[in-house]
Symmetry: C2
Subunit: 299 residues, 2 copies
């Protein structure tokens, strides 16, 4: 779940105030990548939802309907992965304009099903309505996670390392695979969680700077990030990596002594590189990115 509406923190705070305290089986409600529920079963239930709207999140001049179906599910699988969970079921709500043909809907579902099949997710239902102006697609995913292995945004501690999967900056809007058909870090997230030593995790859907800032905000910490250590995608600038968004890589924290073993496990099982990009520090030290050793950006 993400909130790209302006003033989001204020808005989330407002919403949380209106809806009050959830019942005690809601382990985590509003404010993380997914909600976490104790249904009384062996595992926690995870639930998340994301909406994509035409001309805001995608443009049909370079998106195919196949891409759109893939991406709408991928962003949700990424959220479940960032909690260390396993995605199980998806609900799909489509708002379709007059222009959309039956074959387009089929293509959209083909893209979604290709990704669903890969990660054994069942598409279990949905709603299809007429939309007068823009195509919209909302996917909600239900997953599950080991009770003791769920990773939240809030667990980072001073002294932890900040680590990331993959590379950053290539997911800029346009005809590129990472923007059109992002590959959610599903197995990577599960391996990191299963190891049991990571302290916080979040997926990077709004730029690396935002993601690190949010982990720090929820953990009550600061961060020192070394620009030289940020793995940039081929041809990408630091600015794109920090603020470009939509990389759907995982950002996590863990004590230094477990960093190598986690990185090795992830890389050997999936081929995905894991990099250390900085340190969690005390809140009073702020969130800093040391770019070229001279400037400090604080936010």
């Amino acid at each position: 779940m993400r909130s790209s509406f302006s003033g989001e923190f204020g808005l989330i705070k407002d919403i949380a105030a209106v809806i009050g305290k959830p019942s005690k089986n809601v382990i985590k409600g509003i404010g993380d990548d997914t909600a976490v529920i104790d249904t009384g079963g062996k595992k926690y239930l995870l639930a998340t939802t994301d909406t994509l709207i035409e001309s805001v999140h995608f443009d049909m001049s370079y998106f195919s309907f196949y891409d759109l179906g893939w991406k709408a599910l991928a962003v949700n699988l990424s959220d479940i992965a960032s909690m260390g969970g396993v995605s199980r079921y998806a609900l799909v709500s489509l708002g379709l304009t007059k222009k959309v043909k039956t074959k387009d809907v089929r293509a959209l579902y083909k893209g979604m099903e290709a990704l669903a099949k890969k990660y054994r997710v069942d598409i279990i239902g949905g709603d299809t309505v007429f939309s007068p102006e823009k195509i919209s697609i909302t996917v909600s995913v239900i997953g599950e996670a080991e009770k003791k292995k769920v990773l939240y945004r809030k667990g980072a501690r001073p002294g932890d390392l900040i680590m990331v999967t993959g590379d950053f900056g290539s997911a800029v809007p346009g005809k590129n695979k990472k923007h059109l058909c992002p590959e959610p870090r599903v197995l990577e997230g599960q391996i990191i969680a299963k190891n049991g030593r990571a302290t916080a995790m979040m997926d990077c859907s709004d730029g690396l700077a935002f993601t690190i800032g949010e982990i720090c905000r929820q953990s009550g910490t600061g961060a020192d990030v070394r620009e030289k250590l940020i793995p940039l995608s081929k041809g990408a600038s630091l600015k794109q990596a920090l603020y470009g968004g939509e990389d759907f890589e995982l950002v996590f924290t863990c004590p230094p002594k477990f960093a190598d073993i986690i990185a090795d496990k992830v890389c050997s099982a999936t081929g995905t590189a894991v990099s250390i990009i900085g340190n969690v520090v005390r809140k009073s030290e702020g969130v800093n990115i040391d770019t070229k050793g001279f400037e400090h950006f604080k936010w």
Copy 2:
């Protein structure tokens, strides 16, 4: 879940063909009011989603944001109720235009929370995005139901009676309470399911004619409905009751000998009237509404 997009049966069939056979723990996937999942726990998990789009499903010239929040949740609670389930958790995706102010979002959540509180539903998360043209709201609800007590659209048998809660025809678009803030038949649905004798159930979100037709289609039966027995809302016409839509009453079937006891249980516990409006017949006899004893409408 409903599908107000044109050609819906063809589209649902197409989608079902693309996504293939679900895994065996999916008891019911696409095609009923909710999906039904066997998670291995004592109860089944139910999941449903519905989207409302401005100028298609609501008009802000007579909807308040409070109404909109209420309604967006109500249509989902109605779906869970129609399976005989209990709604537990809701996810909310908002597409907000520039015109929408923070106080409007607060009012929307106040409306939703008023209904959520009434039926002990936790709002556990969501997504808030910018929408360039129209406000949209997608709510997904997760619920649960006793394994042996779930009611599907498909269980009606020739010889059963067709029964309904409440009355029909008043939920026409405009400034009326049933359109703005429908009261989902939550307890009624649970009582009907708990009794264990009803054979099929569906909520009436698209007119009584469509609902009866759909129960028959899925059950492989026909129906004889007596116009005189259809409980009309004050001032409503038969046409409004049959095709007006959005009454959110429950339509269910049961063997004649259990009709009175179910009706009594529902009415004594909730005050909601339950009426017999016709009979389930063999498929070969078609779906007929006997209006004024002369005409037969067949569809």
